[in-house]
Symmetry: C2
Subunit: 251 residues, 2 copies
DNA sequence: CGCAGCTTTGAGTTTGCTCAAGTGGAGTGG
DNA sequence: CCACTCCACTTGAGCAAACTCAAAGCTGCG
């Protein structure tokens, strides 16, 4: 699919109207369009490449030794991400058709950051936000039951997507959710069904979820008593409270 | 435990001899000592606080809604980490006695980054390294079997620790490993035992592991055929290869 | 229509979790 | 010095959850 100049202008205007982090880059942005499944090309230069999602969605994928795919990050509109130039084992792929990126060369970014400390600071913030996404995902993936993982995944999407609250439009397939949460597709399906049966969500179409009962999603899901407190956390809390004295400062 | 000026000087010298990322900060470093389980105090200022581990080890902990603990990051000597000032739901705790940190105020860091673009760049690199740690952990936690998780955890520790290759000294308890990998303690234990029986590792003392067979740890662990390729990955690969055309550039 | 991909459901097996008990070492106090 | 305690670690038994394999809807498109 060719990106017409018309489409480029269209997405450039959307970009300029978005309140993203690095507004002063808008003028330097190259618009890149990708269809579903297309890889965003890896940067040729060692300085890497920066992107901002304008519309659509993208995933950062890694391949495990056993052939399984792990989705390391899910990028939604206004999210920035960085692609290293050197051999990185990951690929970036568009998730939906006509996903639009704003693309910035690593060199350009570096030069601007060199000259403009304020911009450098914002760039740092962008990196922190990526770190925040990653640690949030770690919390989700670390969930005990699949119900818990899917539930918190939905909540995180609800928080990130710009649409109205409680109405989540999934930009991703069940397979993507499975590889994001590190569970099997069937388990994802069953979790959706189960959550609907419990009245926590309502599936309005395969890719649209209405959140009916937030508490049912965030609380330790399942009957009370099913899979109670783990020994590790009990121990962890005990250890933590056993050492209440603060650290010692020196000098 | 009080940090004597003597101890502070001792760790300050170690810091100055370490080839960490932000050498020019050494002069501004405050030395903080923590014993096992002690929390590193959260920053009072909104600019947050930066730390570098000089010796020992530390963990970034979050508490789940169900009371379970998730370790979001494991910081070893020469690792930098950032603690936000505003209400962050996480705590930083020392893992071993007499863990020494170099501490830098967020304001100081920001000011230096403002004046010195080269430093700002290194600071950015530090943030990227933290992001890399987080995504590496995501790969480990996303592993299918517990054997796989423990195996890749050991390999990652081996790669990060400065000691001789193949000889990993665990700075953490089994409980910490459990909460890092999001599995139960018992499972961690059984995995160690199992790996030893397979000849992949040798336990020389409870906290020292000799890696005997690297391939057995990194390959999809278990008998061939046990838990084969997941449908999701097969599909993922099919989808990926089905869209080989590159993205379209515009303008 | 019929294919292809995504989604859902079912059946059987395996893993990992929970509960429970027991080992071993370090530190304490008699 | 030894008994005792505490804590980290280990092992066993039973069960529930998730995985694999299999098959059947559903949807959109050529």
């Amino acid at each position: 699919m060719k990106a017409s100049a018309h489409a480029a202008d269209y997405y450039r205007r959307i970009l300029s109207e978005q309140a993203h982090s690095l507004k002063q880059l808008d003028a330097f942005a190259k618009i890149v369009l990708c269809n579903r499944g297309q890889k965003v090309p890896r940067s040729e230069s060692s300085a890497g490449h920066w992107y901002c999602v304008i519309s659509g969605a993208a995933r950062r994928c890694a391949l495990r030794t056993d052939g399984r795919r792990q989705i390391l990050d899910l990028m939604l509109p206004r999210d920035f991400f960085f692609v290293r130039g050197d051999g990185d084992e990951v690929t970036i792929e568009a998730i939906v058709d006509e996903t639009a990126f704003a693309s910035y060369s690593g060199e350009g970014i570096e030069q601007l950051a060199e000259r403009d400390p304020k911009f450098a600071r914002e760039l740092r913030d962008v990196a922190f936000r990526a770190l925040g996404r990653s640690q949030a995902q770690l919390m989700i993936v670390g969930g005990v039951t699949a119900l818990e993982k899917v539930g918190s995944f939905l909540l995180s999407l609800d928080g990130r997507s710009s649409g109205e609250d409680g109405q989540v439009v999934l930009p991703v397939s069940r397979y993507d959710i499975a590889d994001y949460l590190a569970v099997s597709v069937e388990t994802v399906c069953r979790s959706f069904t189960n959550l609907q049966q419990r009245g926590a969500i309502r599936l309005a179409g395969k890719r649209t979820v209405k959140i009916l009962n937030r508490a049912a999603l965030e609380d330790h899901i399942g009957e009370p008593g099913s899979r109670g407190l783990a020994l590790s956390s009990k121990e962890g809390l005990a250890r933590a409270s056993a050492c209440q004295a603060g650290p010692s400062y020196a000098r």
